[in-house]
Symmetry: C2
Subunit: 221 residues, 2 copies
DNA sequence: CGGAATCTTGATTACCTTCAAACAGGGTGG
DNA sequence: CCACCCTGTTTGAAGGTAATCAAGATTCCG
């Protein structure tokens, strides 16, 4: 719903994985910078997909809400990641800022027009969707595993963002639970278990130190 | 691994949803007809993705096998469906014939070359991947629901193929279980439950009559 | 008809959820 | 500066759902 831009300084900034602000390599495309406050909605389910977004800093969650109120988080996006690109004219999920977020937006229609003429851009569009597909399938594989395997797998993924052996988790335990298809209690208990086995350690509830990544990878199975 | 073609007459043939044998509307592309016996492997995980396939008759399952031997079925494909198209040069999953299957194959490289020059084909390629993505996400949503909801949802999907109120399920109970992330016993028990509540009925273990589709939709939640 | 594979049913167990309460951290106002 | 509150997280106890283990029943095919 394109909330008013409220620029806030994030408490922690992830290392930027992609230096270029260009979306899909189309450097010449006009892009609009924008900021969202924590918990602001970037777009809602079934809204027209007017823009495509690239995260510059902060973290975003993309999710759906089931009829019974359960929320399923499909993915988290961090600096350098592109999200909100749909083939369908409407967004099929909603996106919210987990932490204060700064992004750039490119008009979907413009991107589509370029894809019509530029095979390179068309291919990047396809590649992006293919990567999302691979992620969605890996995610589906996760959801049939045990709680320990799910949490371990999530932590291994997060480990990619380690700086000096620790990360600030931008998302709440509830977010993790909704991503893994577990309850917040099970996530909490499993994290406590991993601490007891010295695989990880929490400086604060959000700052995690990975002590034994291999143990997590083994659990990931 | 491109098993030798063993043409067999399927016991039951699904109505053909797409009349044209063309893949992605590229009518001029050379396609090779082929048949696979029940349980034959069409391609394996990590094999080079040399071809793209379109089902003419029969049913196909696409799956991955986890390290611990568990199998996760990602999708079933029926007459008219295209499968095996990857952005990556290798197949990320394997495909097997559930029933005797006849297909046509188009070289992936040829298709890619055409997509370079024909924006229409490039768009269809993207659209196809986007549809697969949507399916994968819906599938992921399924996997966090209860057994009854999963089975009901699966049956609702199958109901699209109803002819005179009944369908022949081409897949085994084990296939259904591996698709839904349940055990074969739970699938069997749930189907029995749905029979007791008169939502469905089984003429044979594979021929299902849908008595109350709305009940299934309600359970699907 | 006989044997093997598939499917169903039963009993028990294990894991995760639910319900409930305590704990920790951060911010505000007195 | 401390008391209080609010939110997020952790921990505990009990219960429920699906998995597991095991045995029958049915179907399919040679």
């Amino acid at each position: 719903m394109h909330m008013p831009a409220t620029v806030r300084t994030p408490s922690y900034q992830y290392p930027q994985t992609a230096g270029s602000p260009a979306i899909f390599g189309a450097t010449e495309l006009p892009s609009v910078p924008m900021s969202f406050a924590k918990d602001a909605e970037i777009y809602g389910e079934n809204e027209p997909a007017e823009y495509v977004y690239k995260v510059l800093s902060g973290a975003v969650r993309v999710s759906k809400v089931l009829q019974d109120g359960r929320r399923q988080i499909e993915a988290f996006y961090f600096a350098g990641d592109v999200f909100g690109m749909e083939f369908s004219p409407d967004h099929l999920s909603s996106a919210e800022a987990i932490s204060p977020v700064s992004i750039i937006m490119v008009k979907r229609s413009t991107l589509l027009q370029h894809a019509e003429r530029d095979a390179q851009i068309a291919k990047q569009l396809w590649q992006h969707t293919a990567q999302e597909l691979e992620h969605a399938r890996r995610h589906a594989m996760l959801l049939v595993k045990t709680a320990q395997e799910r949490v371990a797998s999530f932590l291994v993924g997060i480990s990619a963002r380690l700086v000096n052996g620790s990360v600030e988790l931008p998302m709440s335990r509830q977010d993790i639970a909704d991503y893994l298809g577990l309850t917040i209690e099970t996530v909490s208990r499993t994290l406590t278990l991993f601490q007891k086995t010295s695989a990880i350690e929490f400086a604060t509830s959000r700052r995690m130190i990975v002590r034994n990544k291999q143990a997590l990878i083994n659990l990931d199975s």
